[in-house]
């Protein structure tokens, strides 16, 4: 027989003003199974909690209902209270008679009657509550970091410094990401590579970091603390354990200087065997199979070229190399897949986003995007840091920078601000001016967003010291014209502050394109069961309070894959993600809420509806075998490490062979039926 204690709170006047607490207590004391019905001014205060504890001990209560505020406010408090008094914490229910009763109903008799019904519902539910124990899951003390740009590098180094083994997976042949290709960084104008390369070298050498470049995450199984990750090591055709990085091969390649280098965004060229840039880590080459004479002809049975192999003293080249799948167990995953620039003129991956045909990107060689411009002015870039325009190598004297190309343009489909463009455009104008003293930078902008330490000062410097011409307005189109025998790009803009059209004949145009998540992030997110928004930016668990966690337990995000951000923010977030992962990995066991789904395996028909519906891939179809190993039946089974307790499986199960502990059908129907007249 249930012995339920009901404790109704006055909340000072908050409840008692509109609810006759005494009358409620008396009415509730008559409910079947209610052993005591008390009320007190502040149930959450120490005397209030003592009252509950005393009654538990005195009457041997089997369930407790606290009628007070929202369970979001104090359920944890009262769970602790009863636990200390020796009752399982899950035998507490709350009736929300403050937020959902006394605060919203001013008619006292009506509110009192409603409070009685709300408590009646809680009593009906708690009668069917079960004592639950938190779930403990073991933890593998190893982390996976996906992406080795500045975010992934920072996260990996922090994790490694914390004593955790790290698998750092990078899809490109070298670590470094976008930052490795930048010229100098705002607002200090440090050389990007100068600050990044030591970190790159460190990840390559750290004993706790296993670096896997030219590799991609193929599959993720398991759950928090216990992920099983399969990584595809793409065929590199160079055994990097044998290779010494001497460079004989890439210097001998007959295709040297003939293939556009993606690291230079097509502005520079490389060979079929190459390192993307001199500071690459690992400083080992990769063969681009699509462009290798030897490999392309192998299928036809011909043995051509092979010069690189002949040059290689270390015999590191293997033309028959194959992709390899490697499995790892990891406890936590940090996603740092970064961004790319929105594709301005070309086809869009996302049908809701449109390009800017009117700017002639792709048609006019001298209309470039901001990352290309970074390479043009980078000392390690294809022009050695000399500003030369791509079409004819001439030094541009007038450059037009167009901000918000894509960003904040509802008509093109991207509504958000890419956050860094104002700053790097100011930087571009300065770097340009420092290199071409008689040059003029024109900037078309919508607003200048330069919040941040020394940021606004930086923009002011660009304008006031380096003479950048800022025009508030958009450019409607760009035409290639010939002026005095010289090719110019006529930008038809407007200066909305002056209220006049503003047409500039530029030698070169730089488009500050919107940041979008890098290619393939959605399929990765699906593998990880991490949510993403309509643009593919990964969803954090809470925008303010859980900014690096995701709704997939054990998976953390940092850097531009979560949203546009600059380097300092990225690095801070990467350290935060690493810190959160370290906290998790530092525990011997993970404790999880026991309010999860459970399957009645005897009755489950294994139709798989729940398997498909589960947002966490927490349910699988398993075999039940007898002691002799004969198959008895198939069943669904919930992985307690993965289940987050949403209960979607319950609603799709036709036979209700799956139930949600804490919100079982038995409890919920009892609640509804308590409302029967």
């Amino acid at each position: 027989m249930a012995k339920i204690g009901v404790f109704t709170c006055w909340c000072g006047e908050n409840i008692a003003r509109n609810v006759d607490v005494q009358a409620v207590s008396e009415a509730i004391s008559k409910l079947p199974g209610v052993a005591c019905s008390e009320n007190y001014k502040y149930m959450c205060s120490e005397p209030g909690q003592t009252l509950i504890a005393d009654k538990i001990k005195e009457l041997g209560l089997t369930g407790v209902v606290v009628a007070s505020c929202s369970p979001h406010m104090h359920l944890k408090t009262f769970r602790k209270t009863v636990e200390l008094a020796g009752v399982n914490p899950y035998l507490v229910e709350m009736a929300n008679i403050r937020e959902q009763c006394s605060w919203v109903h001013n008619d006292k008799p009506v509110a009192t009657a409603k409070a009685i019904e709300l408590i009646g519902m809680a009593v009906a539910k708690v009668r069917r509550n079960a004592a639950l124990e938190p779930i403990k899951v073991p933890v593998t003390k190893r982390a996976l970091v996906i992406g080795a740009g500045v975010a992934g590098i920072q996260a990996a180094l922090d994790l490694a410094a914390g004593g955790v083994e790290v698998i750092l997976v990078e899809r490109e042949p070298s670590v470094g990401g976008k930052m490795a290709g930048l010229s100098e960084t705002f607002p200090t104008l440090d050389c990007s590579q100068c600050i990044l390369t030591p970190r790159m070298v460190e990840v390559g050498q750290h004993p706790n970091i296993k670096l896997m470049t030219y590799s991609e995450v193929e599959k993720v199984d398991g759950y928090v603390g216990n992920f099983k990750v399969t990584v595809r090591k793409k065929a590199r055709y160079v055994d990097i354990t044998k290779c010494t990085g001497c460079g004989s091969c890439w210097n001998a390649c007959p295709k040297k200087g003939k293939i556009p280098n993606s690291f230079d965004y097509g502005l520079g060229n490389r060979g079929a065997i190459y390192i993307p840039f001199p500071q690459a880590v690992p400083a080992r080459p990769t063969i681009d199979a699509d462009n290798c004479i030897r490999i392309q002809n192998m299928a036809k049975g011909k043995e051509l070229c092979g010069i690189c192999s002949k040059q290689c003293a270390a015999q590191a080249i293997n033309f028959h190399d194959q992709d390899e799948l490697v499995e790892f167990d990891v406890g936590a995953i940090v996603v740092a897949t970064g961004y790319k620039l929105y594709s301005i003129g070309k086809e869009q991956e996302n049908p809701n986003i449109k390009g800017y045909g009117e700017y002639g990107y792709g048609k006019y060689k001298d209309v470039v995007d901001s990352l290309q411009f970074e390479r043009i002015i980078s000392a390690s870039g294809p022009t050695g840091g000399e500003p030369k325009r791509p079409s004819d190598g001439a030094t541009p004297k007038t450059i037009v920078f167009i901000q918000c190309t894509g960003s904040r343009d509802n008509a093109k489909g991207i509504t958000y601000c890419s956050k860094i463009c104002c700053m790097y455009t100011a930087k571009h104008t300065m770097l340009f001016k420092h290199k071409v003293h008689d040059g003029t930078a024109h900037v078309f902008y919508m607003d200048i967003r330069s919040g941040g330490k020394m940021y606004d000062e930086f923009v002011r410097r660009a304008i006031e010291q380096d003479g950048a011409q800022y025009h508030r307005g958009r450019v409607s189109k760009i035409e290639k014209v010939t002026v005095d025998g010289q090719t110019k790009y006529r930008c038809y803009g407007a200066d909305t502050l002056a209220g006049t059209p503003c047409v500039v004949d530029a030698d070169m145009v730089v488009l500050a394109c919107a940041m979008v998540p890098s290619t393939g992030v959605k399929s990765l997110a699906q593998k990880l069961s991490v949510g993403y928004n309509e643009y593919g930016f990964l969803s954090e668990s809470h925008p303010k309070l859980r900014p690096v966690e995701t709704n997939a337990a054990g998976v953390f995000v940092c850097g531009a894959c979560q949203g546009p951000k600059d380097i300092p923010e990225t690095v801070a977030q990467a350290s935060a993600a690493a810190g959160k992962a370290l906290i998790m990995l530092s525990q011997p066991f993970l404790t999880r809420e026991p309010e999860i789904a459970t399957v009645d395996e005897k009755l489950c028909a294994a139709c798989g509806a729940c398997v498909k519906a589960c947002p966490y891939k927490a349910i699988s179809i398993e075999e039940i075998r007898d002691r002799k190993g004969n198959l008895v039946k198939m069943t669904s089974r919930v992985n307690p490490g993965l289940c987050m307790g949403c209960g979607t499986c319950v609603a799709v199960c036709p036979s209700k062979s799956v139930d949600l502990i804490g919100f079982t059908d038995d409890q919920v129907y009892a609640q509804i039926e308590s409302l029967l007249d």
């Binding site: 008559k30 079947p32 199974g33 009906a124 005897k602 009892a670 039926e673 308590s674 029967l676």
Partner: protein, 336 residues
């Protein structure tokens, strides 16, 4: 000399009873389907002898769903209230003789040990007016179990359709007399039923075979096409198994008695998970054994009136007659 009543007179007699607060059930036509239903005006009924009906008249004696008692919690106590007695007069008109014949079959069951007041009160309060059959179909086999197209068993009056808008009335009991007294006129016309359906099996021999062949593989073999839907039991005038369940909430509710069927797997499922009748063959064996062996052994009646409703309503073309024929052919006559 016979007594006759026209259709109009019959209807006005029923309307008169209805006006006196009597409940009346009659065949009601809904598209191609006819079923026994409670009516509020005699005109709602369809008064002609039929072979095929969607239901039997048993639900007016043994409803598909009946409350036994209600409970309500008052404070820490539970208060029980018995269901009220059945106190209203009731007439079932248009029964087939094979429907009516089921009532005497069921009487001993509901009164041999526990006196089931629900059934007995309804029996006492109900007048059954049957129509003698004017045709039979291939499903009919009343003759095999002692019935006939003009079987009087269980009826209070038997009406013969004269084909001219009137019926010959043969009053059989005082209840029948009370209903028709003064409503009929003298005539020299007499009604006639159709020929008795023919069968080429003997139920007694099959019953003997069943007694001797509990473990025969024939049961599984002939039952394969049965999907265990239980519709046969629900249309059967004699099947009477029921389930008792609690319905309602924690605070108030009732104990109810609902029809059940031995053809459903849940019927004999133990709490342990074991099911002594785990296959359809075992369930069909149970059904046939009960109808033709255990029930007659105890109560002297076959638990079957040969109405054929089971096979008529079976989506899988199964039922008692096909089963008896299969047992006769493959068991009795094959000497297995």
């Amino acid at each position: 000399m016979s007594q006759i009543i026209t259709l109009e007179q019959l209807k006005s007699a029923l309307d008169e009873k209805l006006s006196q607060g009597c409940r009346v059930a009659a065949p009601v036509l809904d598209g191609e389907f006819a079923s026994f239903k409670e009516i509020t005006k005699a005109d709602q009924g369809s008064y002609e002898p039929r072979v095929a009906m969607q239901n039997s008249i048993k639900e007016f004696f043994f409803p598909k769903h009946e409350t036994l008692f209600t409970f309500v919690r008052q404070g820490q106590d539970v208060v029980l209230t018995d269901a009220p007695d059945f106190e209203v007069d009731q007439i079932v008109v248009g029964a087939r003789p094979c429907d009516a014949a089921a009532l005497p079959v069921l009487d001993p069951l509901f009164g041999w040990d526990y006196q089931d007041r629900f059934f007995q009160q309804r029996r006492a309060k109900t007048t059954v007016v049957s129509f003698a059959c004017v045709k039979s179909d291939a499903h009919c086999f009343c003759t095999a179990v002692g019935g006939s197209p003009e079987n009087t068993s269980g009826s209070d009056a038997l009406l013969f359709d004269l084909g001219d808008g009137s019926f010959e009335v043969r009053v059989l009991t005082d209840k029948g007399k009370a209903l028709f007294e003064g409503k009929t006129t003298d005539s020299d016309k007499t009604g006639q039923s159709c020929d008795a359906p023919t069968v080429d099996f003997e139920v007694d021999k099959i019953a003997d075979w069943i007694r001797a062949n509990f473990a025969s593989p024939l049961w599984e073999k002939i039952s394969l096409r049965c999907v265990g839907c239980g519709a046969c039991a629900f249309v059967c005038p004699t099947c009477h198994c029921f389930d008792m369940v609690d319905e309602g909430s924690y605070n108030k509710g009732k104990k109810v008695k609902n029809w059940d069927s031995c053809q459903e797997a849940m019927f004999t499922l133990h709490a342990s998970g074991h099911n002594p009748r785990g296959t359809q063959g075992k369930r069909q064996r149970q059904r046939l054994s009960h109808k033709f062996v255990t029930y007659p052994d105890k109560f002297k009646f076959y638990l079957c009136t040969g109405c054929g409703s089971c096979s008529r309503s079976c989506g899988q073309m199964f039922g008692v007659r096909p089963t008896l024929e299969a047992l006769d052919k493959e068991g009795v006559k094959a000497g297995q």
